[in-house]
């Protein structure tokens, strides 16, 4: 080997030698590294200031200045007092089992609907992107159904499905399904044709190309789709729960409205925000885990 090449590869080889023959950068170590980077950056502190500003405005507008439009609203001290009270005035707080029942019922509906949307949407999107002929059959129908808002499906859902549970799950499923299928299709279409050609050059059969190129190549878009999908699942869930069903956070908000329990409404809303955030964060983590190659590229970029 010539001198020039040795120096070019020296960096890579040294770095590898330190880590042993196999690279042992675990995703756990990377996660910890990213956390410490995050804590050292100004971002978490700016985030705290942002929250403080929001809560401060709420407090001042409702409880101190009593601005005209805000006077009827529950203030933060009232909401937090109720939320964490052992003996809540309106019967719902973190100490009542009913609160967790609502969360559980909603989360369960989301889980089922999201699972179905993913299990049907991802394969459908993969085939839409992979087969031109299949797309010509299916995509026009898909595009016609997609703009119909889930709420417009309420009457048909109630007629089509028995009981109160399945219609809600169906409505939640719908919006998720479109987002997942569409993004998956775009993911397949975004794959550089060179990858497919390279695979066929190397002797891969059609299904091997699908398994080893199309699926992993579309993963970044699939996970973008899943993030959107879980978000829209939550808001169609709440819409569905307001119309039909028993229990669930949407149901809680709706009944609290009819029974004039304003602080409980805000507790329901805030809980939705937290649980919704947690679900999309979980999807993001799963995505990072399944797309280690991107994590590595990103962390390498950050370390430089």
């Amino acid at each position: 080997m010539s001198e020039t090449k040795l120096t070019e590869f020296a960096g890579v080889v040294d770095q590898q030698a330190e880590q042993g023959s196999a690279t042992k950068i675990t995703s756990w170590a990377l996660t910890m590294y990213r956390w410490s980077q995050w804590l050292q950056s100004p971002r978490p502190y700016l985030m705290v200031i942002g929250f403080a500003g929001f809560l401060g405005f709420w407090y001042l507008a409702v409880e101190v200045w009593k601005l005209p439009r805000f006077a009827e609203m529950p203030g933060p001290t009232q909401v937090f007092g109720e939320w964490f009270s052992k003996d809540p005035t309106y019967g719902l707080s973190v100490f009542t089992p009913e609160y967790y029942l609502h969360i559980w019922v909603s989360t369960r509906r989301i889980a089922i609907a999201f699972f179905l949307a993913t299990a049907i949407g991802v394969p459908l999107g993969l085939f839409l992107g992979w087969s031109v002929r299949f797309k010509q059959y299916v995509f026009p129908v898909f595009e016609l159904l997609r703009p119909i808002p889930p709420l417009a499906w309420v009457p048909l859902a109630i007629v089509m499905f028995r009981g109160s549970e399945t219609p809600v799950i169906f409505l939640t499923f719908l919006a998720s399904f479109y987002a997942t299928a569409l993004n998956t299709m775009l993911g397949v279409e975004s794959i550089d044709v060179s990858f497919v050609r390279a695979a066929s050059c190397l002797g891969a059969k059609r299904w091997q190309v699908f398994r080893h190129v199309i699926v992993p190549g579309a993963l970044p878009f699939i996970f973008t789709g899943l993030q959107i999908s879980v978000g829209v699942a939550w808001f169609s869930l709440v819409a569905g729960e307001m119309v039909s069903g028993q229990y669930g956070l949407g149901y809680l908000i709706n009944t609290s409205y009819t029974m004039v329990r304003y602080p409980t409404i805000v507790i329901g809303m805030a809980t939705l925000g937290i649980v919704g955030y947690a679900t999309s964060a979980a999807i993001r983590l799963l995505g990072n885990y399944m797309m280690q190659w991107r994590m590595r590229e990103l962390s390498l970029g950050a370390a430089r």
Binding site: S2, Q16, D192, R197, W293
Partner: protein, 292 residues
């Protein structure tokens, strides 16, 4: 390149020359894009030339002249409109079968690189034999490690392509191709995106790999210096439609290294061909102006 490498190159050269394979004959190849007759674009015009086995043939022409079309026809990504292409004695495409089947006997190294970013380097390199089912994963890993060591790529087996420099990525891609023991390597401007310093390193590295493996190489570029430095044979193409304008056999002895660039014979070849290439570049530029 050190003395030892040159010695080993000389040794393998004589040993493998007799068994050289991968002769490609392009006979009267024509490619028309779009509707034939009405509104079609003639990309390749009755193109005939030979790619000798066990040698490096470099095709030079202005960007967009149709060189890649020719490569795609050999690789089996596109069909020809007429004419035929032979690999050794087998007809890849021709009358009755206008599109060749892509296969591991003709592996392409792509312009922008096509290592799968979601597979580690060693998974990329073992992809061919494992997909074809001709090696178990363990066998493939052993062979891959040996070849990576040979190519100075030890220690990056379990990294992803995104973690290594673009120059190293190209070498991994070439090793991935060689794993299949191809008859011919098709390189489509593989060093286009690299800076000129990395490029010069890559040229020597490619030659070194070539001396070790003696695989036929079909190399496309628009860089004349690169062509003369690497090639046994240089085919200068006319601009669209593309056909050979000039075919030169470069008699600078192999193994070559970077000192060739200052060699008198090298300069003579440059002078002999620069005008022809420049003329085509101007034609291509004018054509481009008119299209807009």
């Amino acid at each position: 390149m050190n003395v030892q490498a040159i010695e080993s190159a000389r040794a393998t050269q004589s040993a493998t020359f007799a068994a050289a394979k991968g002769r490609v004959r392009i006979v009267d190849a024509v490619k028309i894009y779009g509707v034939q007759g009405g509104g079609g674009v003639l990309a390749v015009d009755h193109c005939t030339f030979d790619v000798p086995p066990g040698e490096i043939t470099v095709v030079v022409g202005p960007s967009g002249c149709g060189k890649t079309t020719l490569l795609n026809a050999i690789a089996g990504f596109h069909s020809l409109s007429a004419g035929s292409i032979y690999l050794d004695d087998e007809m890849l495409c021709g009358p009755g079968k206008l599109k060749a089947e892509p296969g591991p006997d003709r592996v392409v190294v792509f312009q922008n690189g096509a290592l799968f970013p979601w597979k580690t380097n060693i998974e990329n390199i073992t992809f061919g034999p494992v997909m074809q089912g001709i090696m178990s994963r363990a066998e493939a890993n052993d062979k891959a490690r040996a070849m990576m060591t040979d190519a100075g790529l030890r220690g990056i087996e379990n990294n992803y392509p995104g973690e290594i420099s673009s120059g190293v990525r190209r070498r991994v891609e070439i090793v991935r191709a060689l794993m299949n023991d191809p008859k011919i390597l098709l390189l489509d401007e593989p060093y286009r995106a690299l800076d000129s310093l990395t490029k010069s390193v890559m040229h020597e590295a490619l030659l070194e790999i070539f001396y070790k493996n003696r695989v036929t190489i079909f190399f496309i570029t628009h860089d004349l210096e690169e062509a003369i430095f690497l090639g046994h044979r240089v085919v200068i193409m006319t601009t669209r439609p593309c056909k050979p304008k000039k075919i030169l056999d470069i008699d600078i002895p192999h193994p070559r290294n970077y000192s060739v660039l200052t060699n008198k014979r090298f300069r003579e070849f440059m002078e002999e061909t620069a005008a022809a290439v420049h003329e085509e570049a101007i034609k291509a530029f004018d054509a481009g102006e008119r299209e807009r």
